[in-house]
Amino acid sequence: MALLEIKNLHVSVDGKKILNGLNLTVEKGQVAAIMGPNGSGKSTLAHVLAGKDDYEITEGSVLFEGEDLLSLSPDERAAKGVFLAFQYPLEIPGVATMMFLRTALNAQRKKRGQEELSAPDFNRRVFDAAAKLGIERDMLRRGVNVGFSGGEKKRNEVLQMALLEPKLAVLDETDSGLDIDALKIVSDGVNRLRSPERSFVVITHYQRLLDYIVPDVVHVLSKGRIVRTGGKELALELEAKGYAQYQEEMA
């Protein structure tokens, strides 16, 4: 059984149709890249998977491990193992990153009927994961994302991913706003988390990210549906030729 199965998904925002009969299957352990031009529905897909309000789902289904994902609240989806790395991570003043991580992890564990982690056990896990991403301990004491640079915010997203150990990680334009060094650190972080037990949906506009996070499969999204699927070489083709042909095909 596929981990994620999206069938004929139609989604509107304020009456405007964004996703238009999207079909997508992500296998367990697979890294699937979703590429597409601006306005093709990439971020909408990410938000709908995570359960954000404001999206009207008019048709279609999304199954996660065979279960209806769309009927679950965002926090229930998180506890089932759906993680979204935000394109623009939010700032939460006054809430130390460390406390945020702990609250999130324990909230998920509780929903899954697991014990809360002991403080030493938790601290060890965070410090290990943070060290690998080059995140200083001082940063963990600061308010969540407050005063963080773009690169620090994205590293913080990967830190959360490492700690929460999702089954499906959706990366929404994780490369946006990153210089090449930051891109490398973030990609290394993601690559370390690749495993046969974990799938990724990597959403990006540019092929550049896929040099570092090499996908098993590439899907092209245009005007709200997947219009082409291929191997990693498809990304290179897109880089060379652009999205124009797909936009015309649809027109």
């Binding site: 995570a50 359960g51 954000k52 309000d53 404001d54 609240s73 965002p74 926090d75 989806r77 998180a78 506890a79 993680f83 979204l84 935000f86 991570p89 939010l90 939460i92 003043p93 006054g94 809430v95 406390m99 945020f100 702990r102 609250t103 999130a104 992890l105 324990n106 909230a107 998920q108 509780k110 929903k111 809360e116 308010g143 959360q160 929460l164």
Partner: protein, 508 residues
Amino acid sequence: MPAVQETVDQVRRIDVDQYKYGFETLIESDKAPKGLNDDTIRFISAKKNEPQWMLDWRLDAYRRWQTMREPTWARVHYPKIDYQDLYYYAAPKKKDGPKSLDEIDPEILETYRKLGIPLREQETLLGVQRPANEDGEDGEGATSGNGAERRVAVDAVFDSVSVATTFKEELAKAGVLFMPISEALQEHPELVKQYLGTVVPVTDNFFATLNSAVFSDGSFVYVPPGVRCPMELSTYFRINERNTGQFERTLIIADKGSYVSYLEGCTAPSRDENQLHAAVVELIALDDAEIKYSTIQNWYPGDKDGKGGIYNFVTKRGDCRGPRSKISWTQLETGSAITWKYPSCILRGDDSRGEFYSIAISNGHQQVDSGTKMLHLGKNTISRIISKGIAAGKSQNTYRGLVSAHRKAKGARNFTNCDSLLIGDKCGAHTVPYIEAKNASAVIEHEATTSKISEEMLFYCMQRGLSEEEAVALVVNGFVKDVLQTLPMEFAVEAQKLISVSLEGSVG
């Protein structure tokens, strides 16, 4: 973070819209006849066996009150209060004042137990009933932690009278007087006479004048020169009787070089009709003395339709009378249908210092108009104001503050920071700062922000596994962190829980 988790658990345990402290205690009470006139005041004064000068003071206040008008400048709206339709005095029925906790009506003790106020537990430490070395056997309620037990002396005020004061003997050893003000009038009339009404004069304002006429009880604290009060002092106020106003009067004097930290907590049963609370608190800090006054105000806020709740019209003022003295107000305001309250500092002594830290949370139909006044009279006086207002539901939350530097207040400095947080789109937050500088060397800084808990922020937290309520609690706790840290340790956790409980039902 465990505290957040706990808070949410706590919220779950109580029903939505159910005020946790909304129970009523059935005890017989001794009331003054309804309404207000000279006889009511004579009745109260006679009940307390007061000296003639006290009665005269009250009658004078009453005469002046009759010439005054209820203030209307605050951003609060409520139906006209009929002052003749209230009881001004209600006391649990009892022959005399209780001599020990054993004589207190068990119903009242039970009430305080429900409120989580450890009167019983303190009894063991009163030394009344057992030899010093026989401790810890009592079991129930005794929080005998690792040796260093945190101790808080409690004065419990039920309706109009103080029912119990703990730790009196131990405090007496240090020379600290901590007792109901009615008792202080018997035992130390000269101290009361010397200081009462010197910070909040009889004619100060409509509600303070009313209080001066009819106040029934409250706490009195005197800390002698050079003494650091050995424990936290605390008063818990409970309004129980129907249609009863509570008019307590608190007077705290920190003599030269002394220090005291004082906390008050307040609750009331849930009732359909509104109840009036008009208190006066006066603080006096002499040379080099310091008073830290913290409030956790959790009066019944009314139901989800805005019915019932306490009208809280309170005058609190501290006088930094001596040089280098310091007064610090910290308040957590979560209850009351209407809050009208401006704890203030008169910075009279040179180099004196006033602080005001406030968290004011309004939900449902609550109306809060609260803030502070910092009056700089002495040279090089410093004040600091940190106010965090959180408005949810259909509530209105106003910060109103005055910072004033007088002609002689050379080198006066103030820093004000006012932040407002809105939850939902049916509430309002307002900031009304007044600034007056009458000399050129004063430095006054004012910062203010208004923000909203955005859908995006909640979604971010929920995507990480937090429920919506956990997410709101987390964001709000972050917002108020600076102020929470100024509360005494013992109460910070309680405060954190209370914040989550008061925001129950604020989303969705």
